[in-house]
């Protein structure tokens, strides 16, 4: 349990804009231990999304090192990164990103499809994951038959289904009203608490951040603040 899930050192991401160079990340060093619930905040352009993309293997850093669960992944091939995304990570996006005209259960099955899991087993695991997010009876519903909060919970079930080491969420409540977003955060906190899943959430909503255990603030591509969250709100919960 001592090996950090994420261990990045001096991470830089430079965009070459021709005449000038833009550093989206300007030397980020950070470790995330297993079971942590990290909230990343910062104004737009602070590099928080870029950071999440690199940590989530959707993008590569220009320089710096990245050790994921003890393994150096800086030099891995695109296919190896795809395999890590498939088996070790779960993603939740602001816009849900469910496949239209595809049932909730089949949306949840998607990561297992690429993990090569047989069909019958996929269906069973998908229904279990939907049960965990409280949508056990919605397996056959199409995304357009579900509310925004329900759709985002389907997305969480999809992120959960391959039993990942870590779930990354980019503004997961950005499209939800305050009640639905509160419910969603309670669900995520519960998954973190009960199942020990490491969570990394990017948000700019202080109410959302209040559910986390550790707050990391970004500004101009650097970590400017990193401290545990006082659990006044959590106690009230």
């Amino acid at each position: 349990m001592n090996t950090p899930v994420v261990d990045v050192r001096d991470l830089r991401k430079i965009y070459d804009l021709g005449e000038q160079q833009l550093a989206a990340l300007d030397g980020v060093t950070l470790t995330i231990a297993p079971g942590e619930f990290v909230v990343v905040m910062g104004p737009s352009g602070s590099g928080k999304s870029t950071f999440m993309h690199i940590v989530g293997f959707l993008d590569r850093a220009t320089s710096g090192t990245y050790r994921f669960a003890g393994h150096d992944v800086t030099e891995l091939s695109a296919d190896d990164l795809a395999d890590i995304r498939c088996k070790r990570l779960g993603f939740v996006f602001q816009a849900y990103n469910l496949l239209p005209r595809t049932s909730a259960a089949e949306n949840v099955e998607l990561p297992m499809l690429y993990a090569g899991i047989p069909r019958a087993q996929r269906r069973k695991a998908a229904l279990e994951a939907l049960g965990l997010v409280g949508l056990a009876r919605y397996g056959d519903h199409m995304p357009n038959q579900l509310s925004g909060g329900q759709q985002q919970r389907v997305a969480i079930a999809r992120a959960l289904v391959n039993t990942p080491t870590m779930i990354l969420a980019d503004e997961p409540t950005g499209a939800l009203d305050s009640r639905a977003s509160e419910e969603l955060m309670v669900l995520l906190a519960r998954l973190n608490e009960e199942r020990g899943i490491t969570l990394l959430i990017v948000t700019h909503d202080a109410n959302v951040a209040a559910h986390g255990k550790r707050l990391v603030s970004f500004r101009d591509g650097r970590v400017v603040d990193d401290h545990p969250i006082e659990h006044a709100l959590a106690a009230a919960r």
Partner: protein, 404 residues
């Protein structure tokens, strides 16, 4: 992901856009249907031509007199009088020859008690029927005794019988040719048109001796019908005839022969050559149609990749490798083109059957041709689907997720 899984996924994606998928397939459908119909027409035409040629007697070789130059005017093949009945007799001794019949052809007016008719009268030996493979419908054919005895007997073709004795049985009646009465002893079966469009039933057959002595007064033959024992014997027999007749006619080397030889294989080849030209033309049209169909598939697949950029981004982010995305879109293209091919093949078979019914042909479409056509449409899918699929596989996950 397994192949069955991929194909299931592709079919679902295509069914979701039913009408677009069908329209996209149309080019391939038309192309493959055209290929199948082409092959059917070609095969049908060839079968029909060879059936007609076989009807003439497929192993038939004919020898006709050569040309003649008189006072600088060349009279053309067949004009010289060089073939004798003895030549015919000599030809029967060539190995591989099954039968020989002399032939004398006269055009004359044939008169019955109630009507008259101008037709081709042909004097032959009794072996002629076997050589032409032409059965008698009623009555009998004349025998060797009749040829020897210069008998005044004849056998009528159906057209002649219909015109001279409408609605009556001609057997036993008498017809008059150039003042000579001939007893009708038989009626030939109906043969229909020849490959060159002549009515084969418009003929009267008599012993060749009677034709020479009673009608033409000549001692020379107009033609020799030779039948080889089997198709493989045709060419060796043909060259044996040439050397035998050159020897009999004392033709020195280097001087032109005073006779000419034709075999029906040559005529058959010419006829199927014409059919081949038509097939090549239609096949070119089919190929162009398949090409256009393939471009249509590529176009729609490119649109589809653009439309589904977010879906691709999502699939990449949940762990799809580039190869899996390539496989998915390529499979969609191949499923499109192959189903188009299959539908086209069915339509083509139906079209071929319809044409066969209308043209009274045998619509034998070789199964190999159908398989090749469908396989080719699958290749079209792979070829034209690869570029859009590769484009999808190369997408950057973040860019793709941001796409609207």
């Amino acid at each position: 992901m397994s192949w069955t899984e991929t194909i299931r996924l592709a079919v679902r994606a295509l069914v979701r856009n039913r009408s677009r998928s069908l329209l996209t397939m149309l080019g391939v459908i038309i192309g493959v249907a055209a290929v199948v119909v082409t092959v059917a027409i070609g095969a049908g035409a060839r079968a029909s031509v060879s059936a007609q040629i076989n009807g003439l007697g497929s192993n038939l070789i004919i020898v006709i007199p050569g040309n003649l130059t008189q006072g600088g005017v060349n009279t053309g093949t067949g004009a010289a009088s060089t073939l004798t009945p003895d030549d015919g007799l000599a030809l029967t001794k060539i190995p591989g020859v099954s039968a020989v019949s002399p032939g004398v052809v006269v055009r004359a007016q044939v008169v019955s008690p109630t009507a008259n008719w101008s037709t081709q009268i042909i004097g032959v030996a009794p072996s002629y029927l076997a050589i032409r493979d032409w059965p008698i419908a009623r009555g009998t054919f004349f025998d060797d005794a009749a040829t020897k005895g210069v008998a005044k007997v004849c056998v009528l073709g159906q057209t002649v019988a219909d015109n001279l004795f409408p609605g009556q049985d001609p057997v036993g009646r008498t017809v008059i040719v150039r003042g000579v009465p001939f007893t009708v002893i038989g009626l030939l079966t109906r043969r229909g048109q020849s490959a060159t469009g002549q009515d084969q039933d418009d003929t009267v057959i008599i012993p060749y001796t009677s034709a020479m002595k009673r009608l033409t007064g000549q001692t020379m033959l107009g033609i020799l019908f030779v039948s080889a024992r089997d198709a493989a014997d045709v060419l060796p027999v043909q060259s044996a005839i040439v050397s035998l007749l050159e020897a009999r006619h004392r033709i020195a080397q280097g001087t032109p022969d005073d006779f000419a030889i034709r075999n029906l294989q040559d005529i058959a080849n010419a006829a199927s050559g014409a059919a081949m030209t038509m097939e090549v033309l239609l096949a070119a049209v089919a190929a162009v149609s398949l090409l256009v169909g393939g471009i249509g598939i590529m176009n729609i697949m490119l649109v589809s990749v653009t439309e589904r950029t977010r879906e691709i981004g999502l699939r990449l982010s949940v762990g799809a490798r580039g190869a899996a995305i390539l496989q998915q879109f390529l499979t969609e293209a191949v499923v499109l083109s192959t189903s188009g091919g299959a539908i086209g093949a069915l339509l083509g078979l139906a079209g071929a059957a319809a044409i066969a019914t209308l043209a009274h042909w045998s619509a034998a479409v070789p199964p190999g041709a159908v398989i090749i056509a469908v396989a080719f449409s699958a290749l079209v899918g792979i070829f034209f689907g690869y570029y859009p699929a590769a484009k999808a596989a190369r997408l950057d996950p973040i860019e793709a997720l941001r796409a609207e």
